[in-house]
Amino acid sequence: MTAVTGGTRLVHRVFVIRELGIAAALVLLVAVTVLVNPRFLTAQGIKDLLLGSTILAVLAVGQSIVVITRNVDLSVGSVLGLSAFATGSLFVANPGLPIPVALAAGVLLGAVCGAVNGALIAAARVPALVVTLGTLYVFRGVDYTWATGRQINAADMPPGFLRMGSATLLGVPVLALFAVVVLVAAGYYLRTYRSGRELYAIGSSPPAARLAGIPVGRRVFTAFVVSGALAGLAGVLYAARFGTLDANAGNGFELNVVAAVVVGGVAIFGGSGSVYGAALGAVLLTTISSALPVLGVSPFWQRAAVGALILAAIGLDRALAVRMARTLRGRSGRG
């Protein structure tokens, strides 16, 4: 029994370390960039960073909830596009529409898309990657067919809505506040509620979860609905932030989101990781792509640099994990 306290501390420290690694990489990147160009961290610079990360962070939170259950949602980019265009169309059709209604509509549409994914995956028990790769095409196709080359412009949307896209509250962008609320709520839920822990259990071992009496299908379904709803929310935020919408909004986002989640230390095979890490991963990726132009990296080198930094980030994370496993082997086990 005496070994317990030492072990507890060890395990707790280990959990902290996983997110610290990404945070450290982030701080390092920002520090280097600021040394080269101090304007990267002016009030405007910070605001841009936060705004830029918001949409990816919201998507990453939803994605990590799905990934934790050993699934993946590749359709988020298409859902975002659909929801963004829907929001815009709503404003075009009803110019006086209150903003909360548009928000609710976008989230609802996303949730419906998520429910389609979730129903297919949970009811027919088929791999999420295949289904959501399919719905990636289907939702985008629907979006294309609906928009047929139309574009919704800033002038079509109420100024209040667009102001939300760049407004700040005590120096923090309003959009980023959405992301923070989503993040904290999801993080707290996953850590302290039975159903949240059950998501981890499902990802850790699906058959064991079934035998433990966990309603696997229902939980997975819910995870996809949440991911869809958050993608829907991200679509509305996208509309507010970018102001110009066509059928291509969010095209190709899925891989960025998965990259953010993985860089953030969420195990791609489920069962471990946290939404905080995923959100940090999103901030890190956004910071990388904003910092490179500021650092004066030639545009031709930027894409390569992003790739190299992703590899470096997951490599670093892995190195920490291995070190942790080694500590565990040496110190723990049977008392």
Partner: protein
């Protein structure tokens, strides 16, 4: 070989749900082949032009690069990994090929060998990250997807190299004498047979299925899991480069953005072909049928004036049906069986 394929898919009997899935997945190859025949037959009767030799020339040309990459990708996915960097390897190969031309390398065999070596090297980097450092391949190859594409831009920047000698460019797409089908299809077919034999009728192939189903048990059986995966990534890299060489010559244009987004098309074809994304299940017959099916369907529907947006929806729906269909059929069958066994 058909038998080997079925065995690989573990066709017969199984436990509960898995058994149902497998019983049907085993015959998924058959479903695909039948679907392909139906598409061809209906297309030839109902859509003007599908019956023409030109149509098949175009389909073949379009299918070749996807087929080239899908062959090794099938093996990679069967071992439970994935390589999303293939299209970027293709693109980088194109730019390097362009740069070689700018440097005055005028021997096509030399260019091809250098490109294949490059592809193998790029694949080896993927393999090293996955097997050497133990990182998940999905994450690694999302990274190298960006890295390799980026390096393509570093090599050629905004230039396009397009002044290849016509013998090269027309040679690549020349038809088999007397036919309209390009001769490259013979090479692809030969490669397909090699890959199919390796997967279904060699000790190596047995090892691949074992790795995909249970890597730890494979390790306990003396299968070099890391080594095997490493070489599969190398092979995927080399094949992607081969596709890159073909791409450059076919379009007579070496640019950094060649083949952008092709990775999802390849993965979609492999999955539609009945390969399980979790590894350990599927076969090459199904994948090849799926590649041809997708190419034929797309071109035939285009001929029938179906808009691109609808094609996107159809592609997605096919993927969904490919996994949901067999499962639902299996569940229905199981329910019927249970009802039968309960009533008497």
């Amino acid at each position: 070989m058909a038998e080997a394929v079925r065995d690989g898919a573990g066709s017969k009997a199984g436990s509960g749900a898995m058994r149902r899935v497998r019983a049907v997945a085993g015959s998924w190859d058959a479903v695909l082949v039948v679907a392909l025949i139906l598409v061809v037959a209906i297309g030839a009767l109902g859509i003007e032009g599908v019956a023409s030799p030109r149509f098949w020339r175009f389909v073949t040309l379009e299918v070749i690069p996807i087929a080239l990459i899908a062959l090794p990708m099938t093996l990679v996915i069967i071992t439970g990994e994935i390589d999303l960097s293939v299209a970027s390897i293709l693109g980088l190969t194109c730019t390097v090929m362009g740069q070689l031309w700018l440097w005055g390398v005028t021997s096509l065999p030399v260019v091809i060998v250098l490109c294949l070596l490059l592809g193998a090297l790029l694949g080896a980097v993927n393999g090293l990250f996955v097997t050497g450092f133990g990182l998940p391949s999905l994450a690694v190859t999302i990274g190298t997807l960006a890295l390799y594409r980026g390096l393509g831009y570093v090599v050629l920047g905004d230039q396009a190299v397009a002044d290849y000698p016509p013998e090269w460019t027309t040679g690549a797409i020349a038809a088999i004498p007397g036919l309209t089908i390009p001769w490259m299809i013979i090479m692809v077919a030969a490669l397909a047979i090699v890959f199919a034999l390796v997967l279904h009728a060699t000790p190596i192939g047995r090892g691949l299925y074992a790795i995909g189903n249970n890597a730890e048990a494979a390790r306990f059986t003396g299968i070099g899991v890391a080594r095997t995966k490493f070489w599969l990534f190398v092979a995927t890299g080399a094949m992607s480069s081969l596709a890159g060489v073909f791409w450059t010559l076919r379009f007579a244009s070496a640019r950094a953005d060649n083949g952008m987004g092709l990775e999802l098309a390849v993965v979609a074809a492999v999955l539609l072909g009945g390969v399980s994304i979790f590894g350990g299940r599927g076969g090459l017959l199904g994948v090849i049928a799926a590649v041809i099916l997708l190419g034929t369907l797309r071109n035939a529907l285009q001929l029938a004036y179906v808009p691109a947006n609808t094609l996107t929806i159809i592609t997605g729906s096919l993927l969904i049906v490919s996994v949901v269909g067999p499962n639902v059929a299996g569940m229905v069958r199981e329910r019927l069986r249970r009802r039968r066994s309960v009533t008497p």
